[in-house]
C-alpha cells in the first residue's frame, strides 16, 4: 500500500538538506465542510490536511532544541521530531514516533484542547501571535496517514516475551485502551472488560461522529486487540462477575471505569418528559445511532432545545440538536464566555452552525404540559462575583430577574461523576466524594492491594489525553508490581 512521497514537489526538506523554517507564515487552516452541508449530515466537520498542507505547516516549525510545546503536552510527545519527519515526507515515521508517547494519536489530534496545551506553549506565539504550529492537526494527519498507508502495524511492534502474568483492565475508554496496549507490549496477558457492546468508552458513546469518526476509534480498538489483548464486551464487572472473582483470577487489576454517572441539578420538573441528561441524549445518538432512520433506538426530534452547561458535552449536544433539525438550539450557562470550559474550535463551530448563547443565566425549574412533557424553563439571571476555588468568578443570582424560555427539549449537561458500582463492590477501596477512587499519584495503586485505577475514575470528568497518560503510567507501575517477587507494595499514601 505504501506510496512514494515526492517531498520536493510537496515543498518539504529534501534528503541531506537543511530545513529553512517559515515561521512567519500564517498557520494553515484546516478544510471544513460548509455549514450548510454539515448540518445535513453526521460526517466529520474538519476534513484534515492534504500531504502538501501538512508539509507546508510542518515547514513552519523551528524544531526547537528546548521545545516548550513538549513540556506542555501531558504525554510529552517529541513534537519537533515528529514534525521534522512530516516536513521530510516521513509520514509513517512521524506516526510511529508519536506512538512512542501516545497510544491514541488519531483521537488526540482531533479532540485534545490543544489551544490550552501544546499549541498554547509554542514559541511561535511570541513572534507571530495566534499562529502557533498546528500540532494537533499534524498529529491527526500523521496518524490518519499511517492508518491508510501501512499495514500490519501491530505485528511490527516490538513485543517483550510473554511473562505469564495476567492483568485485568475494567473499562475500554482511553485509559483502559492505553493501559492494555502497553501491558500487552510488555509481554503480559491482558483481559479487557467492557460493560457496553462496543469498546471505546466516551470516544464511542459520548463524542459525536462529526468530531471523531467511530471508524477511527474502532481502528484503535482493533490495534489493541491485534497486540493480543482479549476484549470482552457486555461484561459489567461487579454484576456479570463479582469484582472479587476477577481479583482472584488475575495478578493485578486496573480500574478505568470512567465518570459515567450523569449529574442533575435537583430542581423542580427534572423528571418531566423531554428533560434528558446529556448522557441519555448522547448515548441514544452516538452509541445507538438514533440519528440514522433505520435503527431501532428512537429519539424525539427536538424543535426548541435548551442545553444547560458549556463544557465539551454541552457543545456536542447543541450541535447534534441542530443536525436533528432543531429550529432553535440554545446554550444556557451561568457564567460568561470567558469561563466556558469547552474546546475552542467546537465553540466556534457551534456558533457558525447557529447555536444561541444565553449567558449569565441559570435554570431554576422546568414547566410541564398536561401530558408531562416539558414546555418551558424558568431561568434566572446571574452576575459574576468573587473568584471561587477554581479561580473563576463565582456566579451569583440577580434578584427578581426570572423569566421564561419556551422549549420542548432540555438537556442537562453539567458534568458526570464516576459510577459507584466498583467502589461499592470492593471492600476497602477508598474514595473521595463517595465515588472518585483514591490512588497514589505515582503508582496509581488504590487502597486495595493489586488494584490500580486511572482516568476519569480517579479525577472525575477530565480529558482524553489525561486518561491516556494515566493508562500508560499505570501500565509501567503495574509492570513493576507484577514482576516484583514479594509484591509487598506499600499500602499507598493517599
Amino acid at each position: 500500500m505504501s506510496e512514494t512521497i515526492d517531498i520536493a514537489a510537496l515543498g518539504g526538506v529534501k534528503e541531506g538538506e537543511k530545513k529553512r523554517p517559515r515561521s512567519k507564515d500564517r498557520r494553515l487552516e484546516i478544510a471544513c465542510q460548509s455549514v450548510e452541508d454539515r448540518l445535513k449530515n453526521y460526517d466529520e466537520v474538519a476534513l484534515g490536511y492534504s500531504p502538501a498542507e501538512a508539509v507546508a505547516e510542518a515547514m513552519r516549525c523551528l524544531e526547537c532544541p528546548k521545545p516548550r510545546c513538549v513540556v506542555a503536552c501531558p504525554v510529552h510527545i517529541d513534537i519537533p521530531t515528529f514534525i521534522g519527519h512530516v516536513s521530510r515526507g516521513h509520514f509513517v515515521g512521524a506516526a510511529e514516533d508519536i506512538r512512542k508517547y501516545n497510544n491514541l494519536p488519531a483521537v488526540c489530534g482531533r479532540v485534545c484542547p490543544q489551544e490550552n496545551l501544546c499549541e498554547a506553549a509554542c514559541i511561535i506565539n511570541d513572534t507571530n501571535p495566534k499562529n502557533p504550529i498546528a500540532i494537533g492537526r499534524l498529529e491527526r494527519f500523521s496518524a490518519d496517514w499511517q492508518f491508510g498507508h501501512s499495514e500490519r502495524r501491530a505485528d511490527s511492534v516490538a513485543k517483550a516475551p510473554a511473562t505469564g502474568y495476567k492483568v485485568a483492565v475494567i473499562g475500554s475508554g482511553p485509559a483502559g485502551l492505553s493501559c492494555s496496549a502497553d501491558l500487552a507490549k510488555m509481554g503480559h496477558t491482558v483481559h479487557l472488560f467492557e460493560a457496553l457492546h462496543k469498546a471505546g468508552g466516551v470516544l464511542m458513546y459520548g463524542i459525536p461522529e462529526f468530531r471523531l469518526p467511530k471508524a477511527i476509534v474502532q481502528k484503535e480498538v482493533e490495534y489493541v486487540q491485534a497486540l493480543g489483548v482479549q476484549l470482552e464486551c457486555n461484561a459489567v464487572v461487579g454484576r456479570t462477575m463479582p469484582v472479587q472473582e476477577v481479583l482472584d483470577e488475575f495478578d493485578a487489576l486496573f480500574v478505568a471505569s470512567g465518570a459515567g454517572y450523569p449529574n442533575m441539578m435537583g430542581i423542580p420538573g427534572e423528571n418531566l418528559n423531554g428533560v434528558y441528561s446529556a448522557n441519555e441524549f448522547l448515548t441514544r445518538v452516538n452509541l445507538m445511532k438514533a440519528w440514522k432512520s433505520d435503527v431501532g433506538t428512537p429519539i424525539r426530534k427536538p424543535r426548541r432545545v435548551v442545553v444547560v452547561g458549556a463544557g465539551f458535552t454541552a457543545f456536542d449536544v447543541v450541535r447534534i440538536s441542530l443536525r436533528l433539525g432543531a429550529e432553535e438550539a440554545r446554550i444556557v450557562y451561568r457564567r460568561s464566555r470567558e469561563e466556558m470550559p469547552g474546546r475552542g474550535e467546537e465553540i466556534e463551530h457551534a456558533l457558525e452552525e447557529g447555536a444561541i448563547f444565553t449567558l449569565l443565566t441559570n435554570p431554576v425549574r422546568y414547566i410541564g404540559d398536561d401530558n408531562g412533557f416539558v414546555k418551558a424553563v424558568e431561568v434566572q439571571k446571574m452576575e459574576l462575583g468573587e473568584p471561587d476555588s477554581s479561580g473563576r468568578r463565582r456566579p451569583v443570582p440577580v434578584r427578581d430577574s426570572n423569566y421564561i424560555i419556551e422549549c420542548d427539549t432540555v438537556v442537562v449537561s453539567i458534568g458526570q461523576t464516576p459510577n459507584v458500582l466498583i467502589p461499592s463492590n470492593l471492600p476497602g477501596l477508598a474514595t473521595r466524594w463517595g465515588s472518585v477512587i483514591k490512588v497514589n499519584r505515582e503508582t496509581y495503586m488504590s487502597t486495595v492491594p493489586k488494584v490500580f485505577a486511572g482516568g476519569d475514575a480517579i479525577t472525575g470528568a477530565a480529558t482524553v489525553i489525561l486518561a491516556t497518560r494515566a493508562g500508560r503510567e499505570a501500565a509501567r507501575s503495574i509492570d513493576g508490581y507484577v514482576r516484583d517477587p514479594n509484591r509487598g507494595w506499600y499500602p499507598p499514601a493517599v
Binding site: 460493560a195 457496553l196 457492546h197 458513546y205 464486551c233 457486555n234 461484561a235 459489567v236 454484576r239 456479570t240 462477575m241 463479582p242 459515567g260 454517572y261 450523569p262 442533575m264 435537583g266 427534572e270 423528571n271 418531566l272 418528559n273 423531554g274 434528558y276 441528561s277 448522557n279 441519555e280 448515548t283 441514544r284 452509541l287 445507538m288 445511532k289 440514522k292 432512520s293 433505520d294 435503527v295 431501532g296 433506538t297 428512537p298 429519539i299 424525539r300 401530558n371 408531562g372 459510577n419 458500582l421
Partner: protein, 284 residues
C-alpha cells in the same frame, strides 16, 4: 456467542426463549434482568431473567411481542441463531429475607419474572402464596411451574375462563378479608396492576415490593433515562431497582415517562417489515 437454544410460543405473542450466556447464568439472582440486542443496529431491550441454569450456561426469558424489537426477536430469530449482545445480570436482586408469609403476585407477563423470586423466597424459609392472573384461559402459561415453586397457588382470569374470575388484586383482597397472614407482598406485572396492588396494601401497612419497567437505554446507570421519583429522591431503575417500595413510587410520573417514545415507536414499527407482517397477521 449468545446462541438461542430454545424457543417456545406460550400464547399468542408470548415467547419463551433460552439463550446461551454462561456468565449471566452463573451470576443471576432473582429479580435481576438482562439486556438483549438482536442485531448490531437494534435497541437494547431490558427483559427479566425468568430462569437460569448455571450448569448449562443458559438463561430463560419470556417476552411479549409489543413493538419493533420484541416482534423481531420473536418472529425472526430461530433456535441455533446468535444474538448480537446479551448483557447481565443487571439490577439489584430482590431481597429474599425470611419474614413469614409472602404473597407473590404476577400479572400477565409478570408471571415469568416471579418464578425465580418464589423459588428464592421459599429457599430462605418463607411460606409463599402465589397469585397469578391472565386475561383469558388461552393466554395462560407457566402455571405448572409456579405451582411447584409455591406453597399455594391462586389463578385468576379477567373473564373467569379459568380459576377465579377477576383481577389479581381481587384475589389479594380476598386473602386479606379472610384474615390470612401476609407479612410482605411482591407484585410484578403491568404498571396499572402494580399500582392497584400498592394502593390496596397501603392502608393494610403490608410492605409491598414492585418491579418497575421504565424505558432504558444502557441499563448500567449511565444515562438516567430510567429515572423515577421514589419518595423525595430520584432513583435509577436499572441500578437502584428494578425493585422499589410500591408505597413510595410516584406512579403518575412513571406513567408519563413510559409514554415518551410512543410516536417514535409507532414509526419504528412501520419501518420494520417483520412488524408490519406481524400486525397484519394479528388483524386477520
Amino acid at each position: 456467542m449468545y446462541r438461542i437454544t430454545g424457543k417456545k410460543v406460550l400464547a399468542t405473542g408470548v415467547v419463551e426463549m433460552t439463550i446461551e450466556a454462561p456468565r449471566v447464568a452463573k451470576a443471576h439472582k432473582p429479580g435481576q434482568f438482562l439486556m438483549v440486542m438482536n442485531r448490531e443496529d437494534s435497541e437494547r431491550v431490558p427483559l427479566t431473567i425468568a430462569d437460569s441454569n448455571p450448569e448449562t450456561g443458559e438463561v430463560t426469558i419470556v417476552f411479549l411481542e409489543v413493538g419493533r424489537s420484541t416482534i423481531e426477536l420473536g418472529e425472526e430469530f430461530q433456535v441455533g441463531e446468535d444474538l448480537f449482545a446479551v448483557l447481565g445480570p443487571l439490577g439489584t436482586p430482590t431481597h429474599l429475607d425470611k419474614v413469614g408469609t409472602v404473597v407473590v403476585i404476577g400479572g400477565g407477563l409478570g408471571v415469568a419474572p416471579i418464578y425465580p423470586i418464589c423459588k428464592g423466597l421459599r429457599a430462605t424459609g418463607n411460606r409463599v402464596v402465589t397469585i397469578i392472573g391472565y386475561r383469558r384461559k388461552d393466554l395462560m402459561f407457566w402455571d405448572d411451574k409456579l405451582r411447584s415453586a409455591s406453597d399455594e397457588l391462586i389463578v385468576t382470569t379477567d373473564d373467569g375462563s379459568f380459576g377465579m374470575k377477576g383481577f389479581v388484586s381481587d384475589a389479594l383482597k380476598k386473602l386479606h378479608d379472610e384474615g390470612r397472614p401476609m407479612d410482605r407482598v411482591v407484585a410484578i406485572g403491568p404498571p396499572v396492576m402494580m399500582r392497584a396492588v400498592a394502593e390496596l396494601t397501603r392502608p393494610w401497612e403490608v410492605p409491598t415490593t414492585v418491579s418497575l419497567n421504565t424505558i432504558m437505554i444502557d441499563g448500567t446507570g449511565m444515562c438516567g433515562g430510567c429515572r423515577v421519583g421514589i419518595g423525595d429522591e430520584t432513583k435509577f431503575v436499572c441500578v437502584d431497582g428494578p425493585d422499589f417500595d410500591g408505597h413510595k413510587v410516584h406512579w403518575d410520573e412513571m406513567f408519563a415517562r413510559m409514554k415518551v417514545y410512543q410516536k417514535e415507536e409507532r414509526e419504528a414499527i412501520a419501518s420494520s417489515p417483520s412488524c408490519r407482517l406481524y400486525f397484519e397477521t394479528l388483524k386477520r
